[in-house]
Symmetry: C2
Subunit: 332 residues, 2 copies
DNA sequence: CGGGTTTGTCCGGGGGGTGGACAAACCGCA
DNA sequence: TGCGGTTTGTCCACCCCCCGGACAAACCCG
C-alpha cells in the first residue's frame, strides 16, 4: 500500500504517516520500495509493505484428529506448515504437547536464522479462559481444567509468548481479518467438524464472554425434549444437529453475516437455496433478510490463520513495545 | 469523590486531574466543595461532585401500557418523573408521540430555567436500528418501519438530540451502570412484562448487533415443535414462556451475571432456589456455576434510568464538545 | 524545458499528558 | 504557639504525537 493511500485511509497527515512508516521500517517490520509510476501526474508515492518472512508467528491448531503447526508471516502469508494426523485416542494433554513441540521444532528449523518469532498462537477444540490461557473443559479431547497455555509455553522453552483461544473463535477472527467476512463488523462463524463450534465477532472484535464461553453454539439448547448431551445439558445443538438446527440459529437476530466452515462450509453449495428461503421466512424483519450466509474462504487454513492473528495482536496494537519485549525474552 | 481518589482510580497525575476537574468546573458540569478533614494527616483533598440539577437528560420509556417521561440529572438522580397509563389500543405512532410531547412539556416546566438539557434518551418496546434511530419492527405496538427517532425529535422542536434504543437494552445499561450489575463486565438482562426482552453487555459496552437485534432473546427459538409466534418464527421463547425456558437460557454459556427484571424480577424470590439448582446442573463447567442470577435493583425505574444513560453517553465521552453542540443547538 | 500536479520532508506549534519543585493545609507533639 | 511529618494542590519545564503550512522533489503533459 502506498503512503498516499495510507494518508487517505487513516485520515492522518503526510507528516504523521512518514514518521510512523519510518519508525516501523527502522525496526524491520516494514520496507519501502521505490514508487512505480502509474502514469498519473504528480510525484509517485513509495509503496510500503510488511516484511512477512522476517516477522512470523508460530500458529498451532489442536483438533480432535490432528495437530497442525505453521509459520505464518505478518500479514497472513503461510511460510511453512505441517500437520500431524493422529489416531483417535491420542488426545491426552501430554501427547498433544509432545506433538506440538515436535511440529514447532520442525517448522522453526525451516525458518532463516534472522527471522523473528513474534509469538505462538494456539486454536484449540475446547473452551478457553483467556485471562490465564487455561482450558476449563474440552469435551472432544476429554480435558478438564488444564493449564494448557502455561504448560505449552514451558514445553517450548519459555521464550515465546503463547496466546490461546477456542478454535472456532480464531477461525472467526481469521475470516473477518482475511477471509469471507473482510470489512463486515458483526459476524457469527459456525464451524462443524467433529463437534459444532461457533465464534462471535461484534464491531470487529472477538467476543468471548466472561468465562470464554460465548459463541459456544454447539451447546445452545434447541430442543427441550432432546437427547442428553455429554456437556450435561439436554437437547444441545451439537446432539440435535440432524434436525435442521442450523436454520434455527441463522434465524436468531444477531449478525450481518454468517460464515460456515468445516463440514458446513463444504455442504454450503448443496444447502444454500433452502437456507436462504428459510432465512427469508424466519427473519424478524426485512433488514434481517439481507443476512448473508457464506462459506468459509480460508477453509482448512482458517484456524491456523486465526491462531497467527491471535499471536500478532500484541505487535499490531503496540509494535515497538512488543518488539522490545520479544527481543528481551530472546536474549534472556 | 475527592481529587486524590480520582488520582488513585485513574492513574493520572495530580496535575492532570487538577486540569481536567478545573475545565469541567469551568463549564458547570462539576463543582468542588472545600475538603472536610477526615482526621488523617496531610492536606485534605477537595471533593468534586457532579452538578446534577443543572445538567439533565429527558428520559422517555415507551412501553405497551404506559409512556413514562422523567428529568434525570447527570449521575442518575431522578429530578422529576411522570407516567401516562394508556388503554390497550392507544399505541399508534402518532398517539405515542403526542403523549411523549405532553409528558416532556410537563417535565420541562418543572425544571429551573437555568437548567441545561443534554439530550433526550428513549427506551422503546421494539427493535431499534441505532444508526438512524428507526424502529424496524415493534410487534407489541404494531409498528413497522417507523422513523421514530426523527419524528420525535421534530415533534419536540428539533433542538434536542434524541437517542433511541430497545427498552431491555437500556435497562441492561442502567443495571450495569447504577444497578445490580455495577462493576460486572459481561451481563445479560432478561426483562419480562408483556413480551420478553433481553439486553447484552459485554466488557461494559452494549452489544446490539448489526441490525440492533442482538439480545432479542424473546424471539430465540427454543422449541422446534412449538407454536407459531407473531414474529413469523416457530417456538420462540416469548411464546413458549410457560415451559421453563428461562432455565434453558441461563444454561447458555455467556454472561457472568444475569439480571432479571419486570415479572421475572418480582418472581425471583420464589424461583431462586430452583434456578440455582438448575444452573449448577446445566453449567458446562464449574466456572459457570459461579454465574449469579440476581433480581433487578432499579426495578420500574431501570428503563428510564437507562434512557437517561443513553442520552448522557455523548457528554461522558466528550464533555466539552458536546456542551458546545448543545449550546449551539439551543441558540439556533 | 517549463507549468501543473501530487507527494515527501522539514519545521513551528499546540494539546494533553508526565514528573519534579514548591507551597498549602492538615495531624500530632512539645 | 511553634515545629516536624504527611498529604495534597499548583506551577512549570518537558515530552510525545499529531497538525498544518512552506518548500522541494518527482512525475505528467505540451
Amino acid at each position: 500500500m502506498s503512503r498516499s493511500e495510507l494518508v487517505a485511509r487513516t485520515g492522518l497527515t503526510r507528516s504523521a504517516i512518514g514518521a510512523l512508516i519510518g519508525e516501523l521500517a527502522r525496526v524491520g517490520l516494514v520496507v519501502e520500495r521505490r514508487a512505480i509510476s502509474d502514469g498519473s501526474p504528480g510525484r509517485p508515492s513509495p509503496v510500503a509493505s510488511v516484511v512477512a518472512d522476517q516477522n512470523v508467528a508460530i500458529a498451532v491448531e489442536v483438533l480432535v484428529d490432528c495437530v497442525g503447526v505453521a509459520a505464518i508471516g505478518l500479514g497472513g502469508t503461510v511460510l511453512y506448515s505441517t500437520r500431524l494426523d493422529r489416531p483417535r485416542g491420542r488426545v491426552s494433554v501430554d501427547e498433544t504437547i509432545h506433538d506440538i513441540v515436535a511440529g514447532v521444532t520442525q517448522v522453526k528449523g525451516k525458518l532463516s536464522p534472522s527471522c523473528r518469532i513474534l509469538g505462538v498462537g494456539v486454536g484449540v477444540v475446547g473452551l478457553v479462559r483467556r485471562p490465564d490461557n487455561s482450558v476449563p473443559i474440552a469435551p472432544n479431547l476429554g480435558w478438564h481444567d488444564v493449564a494448557f497455555g502455561d504448560q505449552l509455553r514451558l514445553a517450548l522453552g519459555g521464550t515465546d509468548v503463547v496466546a490461546l483461544a477456542n478454535d472456532a473463535d480464531v477461525a472467526a477472527l481469521a475470516e473477518v481479518r482475511r477471509g469471507a467476512a473482510v470489512g463486515v463488523d458483526d459476524v457469527v462463524c459456525i464451524w462443524g467438524e467433529v463437534g459444532v463450534g461457533g465464534g462471535l465477532v461484534s464491531r470487529g472484535e472477538m467476543i468471548t464472554g466472561a468465562a470464554g464461553f460465548a459463541g459456544e453454539v454447539g451447546h445452545m439448547p434447541v430442543n427441550p425434549d432432546g437427547r442428553l448431551c455429554q456437556c450435561g445439558s439436554i437437547g444441545c445443538w451439537e446432539t440435535e444437529i440432524g434436525e435442521g438446527a442450523l436454520l434455527r440459529l441463522t434465524g436468531r437476530p444477531n449478525p450481518s453475516m454468517v460464515v460456515l466452515g468445516g463440514l458446513f462450509g463444504r455442504a454450503h453449495p448443496f444447502i444454500a437455496g433452502q437456507l436462504n428461503d428459510e432465512i427469508a421466512r424466519r427473519a424478524l424483519h426485512s433488514s434481517m433478510a439481507n443476512l448473508r450466509v457464506v462459506p468459509s474462504r480460508l477453509g482448512m487454513d482458517a484456524v491456523l490463520m486465526g491462531a497467527a492473528e491471535l499471536a500478532f495482536e500484541a505487535v499490531l496494537s503496540d509494535p515497538l513495545a512488543t518488539l522490545r519485549e520479544v527481543e528481551a525474552r530472546r536474549t534472556g
